[in-house]
């Protein structure tokens, strides 16, 4: 009798355990439905877009490096205005890169010009925010804060937070390597101002608070070290681990993989805000960047940069 009693106890325990694990092991699946393609092969809307930002009304702001411009498109994809041109004067570009919406302004970095150019939402040039170095990546991370990764050189790996006047608010080191370019990273920020950082040439995805405290690290691809090539006197890494990072409206972290992914420059790894891996899905075409707007639409590159593709993200929990 006692034996039966114990057996039934174990059976109930086993049942409860199985049910609880099954409910917590719900897996997330993501698929994409294409909403719009901007820039086709026979038009002259986009030649090679690099940076993207979308405002709250759905207007799309793109930097186009082949014609040195900043372009604004309506939510339906009509070109509203084009600004810029080649040069180093006010509102001109040599190699426009990142674009961000900050208050009522549009901020643009240039790979070859120091500082940040500020435009209004109609793309009229307003001013240049001074900054001492060229900028690798830029994200707005609060109502008064702009996070930057400056290109400093060996021993860098420094993230700087500045205000709208270019005054430094704070800075912290996320990498202290002396090896060239190993500090290269892409960043994004959540609503609380935390910074997510993915390394270009290292297998590291990290989250920091604004004080520079590391909250977690994740290494998804088990890449120990990337292949390098000697260019002139310098040995530089040539294969990219992670290309870009962005967040969806509920704070999931989307990381675009590079050369070490199963589908190069197409696989997107999704993590939760605590750094736990959730799922992977694949873009239809290779991209250099990904962006998710406030409505949750995902944007990526099409036709090698001459098109921008907009997708609705479809989440499925099994």
């Amino acid at each position: 009798m006692r034996k039966v009693h114990w057996l039934s106890f174990f059976f109930v325990f086993f049942l409860l355990f199985t049910l609880s694990t099954a409910s917590s092991a719900k897996s997330l699946r993501i698929s994409l439905r294409e909403e719009m393609t901007l820039g086709h092969l026979d038009d002259d809307l986009i030649y090679m877009w690099v940076g993207i930002a979308v405002d709250e009304s759905g207007h799309i702001y793109l930097t186009d490096t082949l014609d040195y411009s900043l372009k604004k498109f309506s939510p339906a994809g009509r070109l509203v205005k084009k600004a810029g041109g080649r040069g180093q004067g006010p509102g001109e570009f040599m190699a426009p890169r990142e674009v961000q919406i900050f208050q009522n302004y549009v901020l643009v970095t240039d790979q070859n010009i120091r500082g940040i150019q500020v435009f209004d939402r109609d793309l009229n040039f307003i001013k240049r925010i001074p900054f001492s170095h060229l900028i690798l990546d830029m994200r707005v991370c609060g109502p008064q804060a702009i996070a930057l990764i400056p290109i400093v050189g060996v021993g860098a790996g420094r993230l700087k937070i500045i205000d709208f006047d270019g005054q430094e608010v704070t800075e912290f080191f996320y990498e202290k390597t002396k090896k060239m370019m190993l500090d290269f990273a892409s960043i994004c920020s959540d609503k609380e101002g935390n910074i997510y950082l993915v390394f270009t040439f290292q297998d590291r995805i990290e989250k920091y608070n604004l004080q520079g405290k590391k909250l977690w690290t994740n290494r998804l691809l088990k890449v120990k070290s990337v292949s390098k090539e000697k260019i002139n006197r310098f040995e530089v890494p040539t294969r990219v681990v992670y290309k870009d990072v962005t967040l969806d409206p509920v704070g999931r972290v989307f990381v675009l993989g590079g050369h070490y992914s199963k589908h190069q420059s197409r696989d997107i790894y999704v993590l939760d805000a605590q750094g736990r891996y959730l799922t992977t899905f694949t873009l239809p075409e290779e991209s250099h960047a990904i962006y998710i707007d406030q409505q949750g639409f995902l944007y990526s590159r099409g036709n090698d940069g001459v098109s921008l593709r907009k997708f609705k993200i479809i989440y499925q929990v099994d």
């Binding site: 092969l41 026979d42 030649y47 090698d304």
Partner: protein
């Protein structure tokens, strides 16, 4: 054998290009008693021009040439490294080339080297071939040009114009 054929093909195409250049501007010159004048073939690697220094050097050099020289005596060849280029990929390249030409106000014609006939030049990256005053004078320079190379080329072009 294939390499040999390719090399012959390459030489033939090069010869044809030179002939074309001579024909384009040569009739009036011949009647004026000038048999040969400097001409340029720009061999362009679009990926190379993503490098800021190369792009600036190329652009600055083009701007330093007289517009009439660019229009009449310059030819561009876009080197394509990809093999088996399909129609779709070709359209992408054409669009990028269109953007490149527009933003740099390039007015000389540019051909796309679909069959890799100029592949032997691709290791040099974006470069230019200067055909000098005499038939035996044919030089190749890579971008970014060194200052003395740039002045050497310009001197040749401007001297001839004078």
């Amino acid at each position: 054998m294939v390499a040999k054929i390719k090399s012959i093909k390459s030489k033939m195409l090069f010869f044809l290009l030179i002939t074309l250049l001579v024909v384009r501007g040569g009739v009036a010159e011949a009647s004026a008693g000038v048999a040969y004048q400097p001409r340029l073939i720009m061999l362009i690697d679009l990926n190379d021009l993503m490098c800021f220094n190369c792009l600036m050097a190329f652009s600055r050099f083009c701007q330093s040439l007289p517009p009439s020289f660019l229009q009449e005596k310059t030819l561009g060849i876009l080197m394509v490294k990809e093999k088996n280029l399909d129609y779709h990929r070709l359209q992408i390249i054409k669009k990028k080339l269109r953007g490149f030409r527009q933003s740099h106000q390039i007015e000389f014609p540019i051909w796309i080297d679909l069959h890799g006939l100029f592949n032997s030049f691709s290791s040099r990256g974006t470069s230019l071939v200067l055909m000098g005053k005499s038939m035996a004078d044919c030089r190749c320079y890579s971008f970014p040009l060194l200052p003395h190379q740039e002045s050497e080329i310009l001197e040749e072009i401007f001297l001839e114009r004078e």
